[in-house]
Amino acid sequence: MNAAAGISGAVQSTGWEWGAALYKNSDGMVGITPLRTDHDSGSVGVSDYYTGKDIPAGATRIGDVHGHTGINSPDKGMHMSPGDLGNAGTMLNVHGTQTTYMVNPAGQVWKFNPARDAKPVLLPGRIQ
């Protein structure tokens, strides 16, 4: 939720999407790479090429998190997009189980892991 709050703030202050990769260290602690943006309101890249340098040696990538601007999207950015769902499937094939989190313009957080979930799940609560 802390990561989603940081992303939500960055999205709202810039009008661009921001995102990061999530990883798990060998001791089980979960970490997040620094937030990044492509200065685009409709997408943000967090592939290994862009975020791999920030994943510590020995850690394993476990997913990603990003925020929607609501700009130029049919549902005002409230739900996971076709790109989010497609990415989840691609990442499942590339990295094994991966969880994608998305924070929407209303501060709600969606979670999707295609290995476990039939469809995206809305987490309880809301970022203020």
């Binding site: 995102g19 492509d38 309101s41 409709g42 862009y50 999207s73 997009s81 790109g83 990442m91």
Partner: protein, 256 residues
Amino acid sequence: MPNKAHGKLGGISTLLVCVAFCCIASCKRASDDPLTRWEAIPEEPTQNAILLQQAERSRCIWSVVQDASTHRITIQQAAHEPSKEHQVRMQTETGVLVGTDNGEYGGGLILTDDKRGLTKRLLDTNVLQLLPWKSGVLVFTGLLHLGVDEGAVWLYSKGSDGNWSIKKVADLNGKPSVISSANGNVLAVGGHGVSRLDQALNLTEVTLPFAQVFPNSITEDVHGRIYVGMHAFVVRLVPAKTGYTHEWFTKPGCLR
């Protein structure tokens, strides 16, 4: 004697004219080089180098521009990140091509012809740019979203049977952020480096560590040298026996 003196003066005059001509010629050469007063980086930064991290946060955003009539290249400082187009259109003899790029929400390429009431979907992927080509239209597609990073170039053209169709020319190394044409060639640049399509549609890709520097403009001069504008740097690619050599330039105060 006067003749001799005159001859001597004439020789000096000729020499002075020659010196002046050489000065003007070399000054012109220098002024034709848009990077004359720039600082060259002695060693090309590698991916994730400190210099690139500094560039990522730099307030200097350099944009390379080529004058359409003189072909002279100038470098300008952009006030902010260039905004992105979500729709591109081009008139063709079969109708209007409309390409859309809605990022993670998708995009496509549609052919519309109001006269015939025709709408035909040609591609179901994000369309970034349409460029006129001698045998049709080049269509650049791509998406960089979360773990997906892909790009491609297609040709919409008329076949020998007179029918128009679209075919993939090549996959690109990731999504290009900028595409432009210069000298009859097509250039694209993104986080993975530069792609160049020559007039026979042969693809040359130059891998460069551009992930952190957000390239925003690209052009090529009459000598085939490619200039790329980005955060903190201007990178020049100079044709070599095989491929290109790479030169990185910046200005004082851009890297902190």
